[in-house]
C-alpha cells in the first residue's frame, strides 16, 4: 500500500447520497438544458467524492464496506459515469431536435440515469449480500426502462427480452444468496450478521463446503447472466443496440463490471475455504465460451451497436477467464483489462452515438468512409477500435499480453483457444472497421454538434496506460490482485 489512509471520515454514504438527491431534483426540473447540466454536475461531484475514497479509512460497517477491491470499481464507475453524462448532454440535444425523444422522456431519462448510478454504487459498497442483490436488481430495472425509451417495436422487444433474462438471472442470484445465508447461519448465528460480507469472510473456513459449492453455481449463473457470459448473453446485444447510446456505454462500461464484481466477491468467499470446489475452472470455461462465441458472431453483424455489444461479450469473457485463471499476473491482467475495456468501450460508444446521428442509421452497410466525411469522429473511432482490438500501444494490448503469457505459463492448452479467440475477434473488428472508416463516404445528413472531449480523454488515458502506468497504480492493482488470490 502506497496510499496512506488519512481521511478522517468515510465518504461512502456521500457517494450514495449525491445521485439519490440528484435523481429527485432531475425528476422535478422540466427544462432539459438545466437537467443535462445538473446531470453532469452531479456526476462530477460523485466522481470527486469517489476519489476521496482513495485516502479514506478502510471500514467495514454493518451496511457499507470500503476496501481496496471495491475502491477500484467505484472510482472507475464514477469516472465513466461522469464522462458519459458529458457525452449524453450533446447526444440528447440532437435526439430532441430530430424528435426521437420529447422533453418529458428526457426528464425521466435523467432521473433514471442518477438512480442507476446510485444503485450501481450501492451494489459496490454494500457490505450486505442482500442489499447488494437489491441494488443490482434496481440497476437492472432502471436500465430496462431506459432500453425501452424509444418505444419502437425493436426497443420494446429488446427491453422485454432483457427484462425476462435479467429477471431469471437475478432470481438465480437470489437463490444463491439464500443458500449462502443457509451456509453461514449455523456458524455465524441467525440474523443479519450472516449476510454481512466481512463477517462471512472471517468465518468462511468453518462453512459447509458442499452447500457453498451449490450456492456459488447459482451465483455464477445468476450474476453471470448480468455479466453477459455465454450461454446467458442473449439479452446483451439487443439491449445495447436499441436503447439510447449513452445507455449502451453505461451498460458496457459499468453495469457489466458491477455484476462481475459480485461474482468476484463470491469467488473470494469460495477461495477462503480450502474444501470447496475451485471456482476458477467454471469461470474460465464460461469466459472462453464467451470469447469464442463472440469472436465468431462478430463477423456476421450488420448493426454497428450490436457489433460492439458482441465485442463487450468477448471482453467480459476475457476478464472472466483472467480472474478464473487466478494468480498475481492473471488477476492483475484482469483488473487492468477491465479498466481498459471500460474506458475504450465507452469511448467507442461515444463515437458510435454521434456516427449514428450523422449517418442517420445503425446499419453497417450504410456507414462508409467516415474518415473522409467526418475526420474527427472517423479517426477517433479508428483509434478506439484499434485499441479494443488489442493493437499496441493501447492499454488493452498490455493487459491481453499479460493474460496470454500467464495462460501459457500455467495452462498452456487453454492458451491456444484464448489466442484463437483473440485473433478471431481482431480479424472481425478490422474487417468491419475498414468498411466503416475508409472508402467512398456514404451520404451523411446534417451537421451534428458532436462533443469529442469525453472520447478524446478516454482514448488518451488508454494510450498513456499502454505506454506508462504510474507506479502507485501498479502497486495498487498488484495489491488487489494479491487479495483476489
Amino acid at each position: 500500500m502506497t496510499v496512506l489512509a488519512t481521511l478522517p471520515f468515510n465518504p461512502a454514504p456521500v457517494i450514495l447520497a449525491i445521485p439519490a438527491v440528484a435523481a429527485v431534483l432531475l425528476a422535478l426540473i422540466p427544462s432539459y438544458r438545466v437537467s443535462a447540466a445538473l446531470n453532469v454536475g452531479a456526476c462530477a461531484l460523485t466522481f470527486l467524492t469517489a476519489l476521496s475514497l482513495l485516502v479514506a479509512p478502510r471500514v467495514a460497517g454493518p451496511f457499507l464496506i470500503v476496501d481496496d477491491l471495491n475502491i477500484v470499481f467505484v472510482v472507475l464507475n464514477t469516472f465513466v459515469a461522469f464522462t458519459t453524462s458529458v457525452f449524453s448532454a450533446s447526444y440528447i440535444a440532437h435526439e430532441l431536435e430530430t424528435g426521437r425523444l420529447t422533453p418529458l422522456h428526457l426528464r425521466f431519462y435523467h432521473a433514471m440515469y442518477q438512480v442507476l448510478l446510485a444503485a450501481m454504487t450501492l451494489a459496490l459498497v454494500s457490505n450486505n449480500l442482500g442489499v447488494m442483490w437489491v441494488a443490482i436488481e434496481v440497476a437492472t430495472l432502471t436500465t430496462v426502462l431506459m432500453v425501452g425509451l424509444y418505444r419502437t417495436e425493436a426497443a420494446i422487444e429488446a427491453a422485454w427480452k432483457y427484462f425476462m433474462l435479467g429477471s431469471v438471472g437475478i432470481a438465480l442470484a437470489l437463490f444463491g444468496t439464500i443458500l449462502v445465508y443457509m451456509v453461514a447461519q449455523p456458524v455465524v448465528g441467525e440474523g443479519p450478521d450472516a449476510m454481512v460480507w466481512s463477517v462471512l469472510m472471517q468465518h468462511a473456513r468453518n462453512f459447509d463446503p458442499a452447500l457453498l459449492n451449490v450456492a456459488f453455481v447459482f451465483l455464477l449463473l445468476g450474476y453471470g447472466t448480468k455479466v453477459g457470459l455465454a450461454p446467458l448473453h442473449a439479452w446483451l446485444p439487443d439491449a445495447h443496440s436499441e436503447g439510447p447510446t449513452p445507455i449502451s456505454a453505461v451498460l458496457s462500461g459499468l453495469l457489466l463490471n458491477v455484476a462481475l464484481y459480485a461474482v468476484l466477491r463470491f469467488k473470494l468467499l469460495m477461495a477462503a475455504h480450502p474444501g470447496t470446489l475451485a471456482p476458477g475452472p467454471l469461470m474460465m470455461a464460461m469466459g472462453l465460451a464467451s470469447l469464442l462465441l463472440a469472436g465468431f458472431m462478430l463477423y456476421r453483424r450488420r448493426d454497428i451497436k450490436r457489433l460492439f455489444a458482441y465485442s463487450s461479450i468477448e471482453h467480459m469473457g476475457l476478464i472472466a477467464f483472467a480472474f478464473g485463471l487466478g494468480g498475481p499476473v492473471a488477476n492483475f491482467a484482469g483488473l487492468l483489462h477491465m479498466t481498459m475495456h471500460s474506458l475504450t468501450k465507452s469511448a467507442i460508444f461515444f463515437a458510435v452515438g454521434h456516427v449514428c446521428q450523422v449517418k442517420g442509421t445503425q446499419k453497417l452497410a450504410d456507414i462508409r468512409g467516415l474518415t473522409t466525411s467526418h475526420p474527427a469522429l472517423g479517426w477517433g473511432l479508428v483509434v478506439a477500435v484499434a485499441a479494443i482490438a488489442g493493437l499496441p500501444p493501447a492499454g488493452v494490448f498490455m493487459s491481453e499480453f499479460l493474460l496470454v503469457t500467464s495462460a501459457f505459463a500455467h495452462r498452456p492448452w487453454l492458451a491456444l483457444p484464448l489466442v484463437a479467440g483473440l485473433l478471431l475477434a481482431f480479424g472481425a473488428l478490422m474487417v468491419k472497421l475498414s468498411g466503416i472508416a475508409f472508402g467512398a463516404p456514404s451520404p451523411g445528413t446534417d451537421k451534428v454538434k458532436a462533443s469529442h472531449l469525453p472520447m478524446t480523454v478516454h482514448l488518451a488515458l488508454v494510450l498513456v496506460a499502454g505506454l506508462y502506468l504510474p507506479p502507485p497504480l501498479v502497486a495498487w492493482f498488484r495489491h488487489v490482485a494479491g487479495l483476489l488470490g
Binding site: L145, L172, L174, Y181, P192
Partner: protein
C-alpha cells in the same frame, strides 16, 4: 427448535405438506391451456405459499414472517391475478396459452427437474437441519419449474406468470432459512411489486404497438437485424 405444544414431527410434516403442495401446483400450471385457468392456478399457488410461510412463522416463532405471508395472500393471490384477468380481457389477448413445447415433454422435463433439485439439495446439505434442507429442495423445484414455464410458453402473460411462480419458490426458500433477516423478505416482496409495475408498463407499451402480447409477434421484428 420449537417450544410449542405441537410435536416437532408434526411441525415437520405440515411444513412438508405445504411445500409439496407448491410443487404440485407448479405442475398444475404446466398443463393449463387457458389463460384464465392459469391465473386461477397461480392464485392457488400463492395461497399455498401464504400458508407455507405462515406455518414457518409459527414454527420458527418469527412473527415478521406473517407479514410476508400476508403479502403473498393479498398481493399475489388476489391483486395480481385479478389485475391480469382484467388486463387480458381489456386488451383482447388470446385466451389460449400457446406453448413452444407440447405438454407431454414439458411434464417429463418438469419431473426431471424436480428429481435434479432433490438430488442436488439433499446431497449438498447433509449438515443442515432436515426441515430446512427439504424445504430448500422443494423451493428449488418450484424455481426450476417456473423457469421451465417461462421457457416453454409463448404468451407474454404466461411467461410473467412463470416468473411469479419462480418468485414463489424464492420466497419459500427465504422463509425456510431460519432467521433470514427481514431486510431480505421485504426486498423480495418489494421486488415483486416493482416487477409487476414494470411488467404492467411493458404490457401496455406492447399493446400500444401490437395486436397481441404474443412474444412471437415481437420476434418478427428481428428479421432485418442480425
Amino acid at each position: 427448535m420449537i417450544e410449542h405444544a405441537i410435536t416437532p414431527n408434526l411441525v415437520f410434516d405440515v411444513a412438508h405438506m405445504f411445500a409439496g403442495a407448491l410443487v404440485l401446483i407448479s405442475f398444475l400450471m404446466l398443463y393449463q391451456d387457458r389463460l384464465y385457468a392459469l391465473l386461477n392456478v397461480f392464485a392457488l399457488q400463492a395461497v399455498a405459499l401464504a400458508l407455507a410461510v405462515a406455518w414457518q412463522a409459527y414454527a420458527q416463532d418469527a412473527p415478521h414472517l406473517y407479514v410476508t405471508a400476508g403479502i403473498a395472500l393479498v398481493f399475489k393471490a388476489l391483486v395480481i391475478p385479478v389485475a391480469l384477468h382484467r388486463m387480458v380481457a381489456r386488451l383482447g389477448i388470446h385466451r389460449q396459452v400457446e406453448t413452444a413445447v407440447s405438454i407431454g415433454p414439458t411434464m417429463l422435463a418438469g419431473i426431471a427437474l424436480v428429481a435434479l433439485s432433490m438430488v442436488v439439495m439433499l446431497k449438498a446439505t447433509p449438515a443442515a437441519d432436515a426441515l430446512a434442507r427439504e424445504d430448500l429442495a422443494f423451493a428449488l423445484s418450484v424455481v426450476l419449474l417456473g423457469l421451465l414455464m417461462m421457457v416453454t410458453r409463448r404468451n407474454a402473460v404466461s411467461q410473467v406468470v412463470g416468473f411469479m411462480s419462480l418468485e414463489n419458490g424464492l420466497i419459500l426458500a427465504a422463509t425456510g432459512a431460519k432467521g433470514m433477516p427481514l431486510v431480505v423478505e421485504i426486498s423480495v416482496a418489494f421486488s415483486v411489486l416493482i416487477a409487476f409495475i414494470v411488467i404492467g408498463i411493458f404490457l401496455f407499451r406492447i399493446r400500444e404497438r401490437f395486436d397481441t402480447v404474443d412474444v412471437d409477434a415481437l420476434d418478427r421484428f428481428r428479421g432485418g437485424r442480425a
